[in-house]
Amino acid sequence: MFVSASDLHVLNTVLPEETFNSFKEYYAPEKPVAEQLAIYIKNLVRFDLGSSFYYKMPVAEIIAGRIGWTLLLSFVSISISALLGIPMGLNAARRGGRGGKYLLSCFMALQSLPVFVLAIVFQLLFCFKFHIFPSGGAYTLGMNANIIDLSVDVVKHSVLPVIILVLVELPPIFSLTYNVCARTKEEPYVEMARYFNLSDRLIKFKYVLKNSLPEILSKMNIQFLYAISGILFVEVVFSYPGIGTLLKVAASSRDYPLLQGILLITGFYGVVINLIFELIIKKVNPRF
């Protein structure tokens, strides 16, 4: 990820003269590619991601100030979705029947909608029409209150974004669990377990769940990585001060270094999530 001369040529047409010059100096596109890369990596090691030309500030500093809000939204929504989705999927699959299938098709439809559209509709309904929740931001600006009031305020601001995120993150987790468990349930060894006269409880936990969990976890990790893009959009709609709003500013102002920094930080987030899941899977089933 560095800038080539041709990229710069494109930027020349969209950037103001002075920014362009400082930018050119920083990235030095006239030097050979290998040297540019070396400079870039050297800067990266020092957490120097360059400097944004929209904010006129170091990119690393801007991102550091915003990432907390994004992490808050992502961990809260992901935990709620997983804690609801896995038991729901397991039970729906075990019962079989139509209920699970209908729920699945509703979820399928919900899942395919663009996240920001869903967010706009919710904002319209709950903020502008019924005035239940604040329409944007992470906290009331200029509020001078004690820690308790402040936390209540933060929670109030994040309820709607979290609900929307759960709505888009839950369906894939539910349908994943449902599908994997429904398939495991059809496995010959589950049927054999009945012929051995095992109890329903044992079959549910020791046979269906135990054999489904590794697959569920190894696929859920992908769902979590997909979820990050949802978080970015919800933030934009609710002007939540996280990475997503930053991305919007960077994209619409063609703030190249900032975009690059966001790309890096989301990639880093993905790597961390992957690592966490690998550890969990190892713990659940040593065979994988």
Partner: protein, 264 residues
Amino acid sequence: MSKKIANKAAWAIVITMLSVGAFYPFISPYNAADFSFRPLMDPSTAHLLGTDEMGHDLLSMLLAGFRITLTIALAAALISTFIGTVLAVACAYYKNWVDTVIVKLTELFIIVPEIVVLLFFAVLAKPGVYNTILAIALFSWSKVARIIRAKSITAIEKEKIQYTLLLKGSIWHVLIKMWRELYPAVATMFIFQCSKAAVYESTLAFFGIGDPLAITWGRMIRTALNYEGIFTGGAYLWYLLPPIACVCIFVVALSVLAYDFERE
């Protein structure tokens, strides 16, 4: 029974939308580029959805959006499904390092969200419909590759396909032989990619990166949201909701179709 009705309805919706996209000049009341009307009119018999702040007729813009949005969706889906399928079959056929490289590449797209990469490159590229199609197609094949690869790897282990390998069949022979096995998954992925491309198009426009001249649903949503008074009056009802509804109906209809294919 109800499933069949849902399926038929979904087909009807998709076909209607495609024909609107193809024939919109005949049904559109005005030229979509015409901004000579009085701005911000409420809906009336002359302007069923009113006009925007520039003086465009909103219904004409919505209808024009069918063509470009659907073209982008279909073209991008076609290209990305093709790329994904060929790479997936290559994984199963060549195994070893080819497989490793392609898998690493798809993993990269999972770790860095497609949409962020897409935004990154869309910012660099010259805005335009072709570039939008290319950007979406080139950066959204990873899911196709991942899913079709899993199918291909089980399919290539089937004895009827192993026979072709034993005769030293080329990758194309194997692809043709496997097509019967892969077809449902490929069809599902194509429909899925269509809906994803429509979503990505509107997302790009929402971030202000699409073609500034092309009229798409995504761009309508963006201009509507940029308009300060959108939520104060009733303007959102005829300005913001129609393009949102179009995107949603299109995407949901496709997901019903994809769901049906998947289970066969």
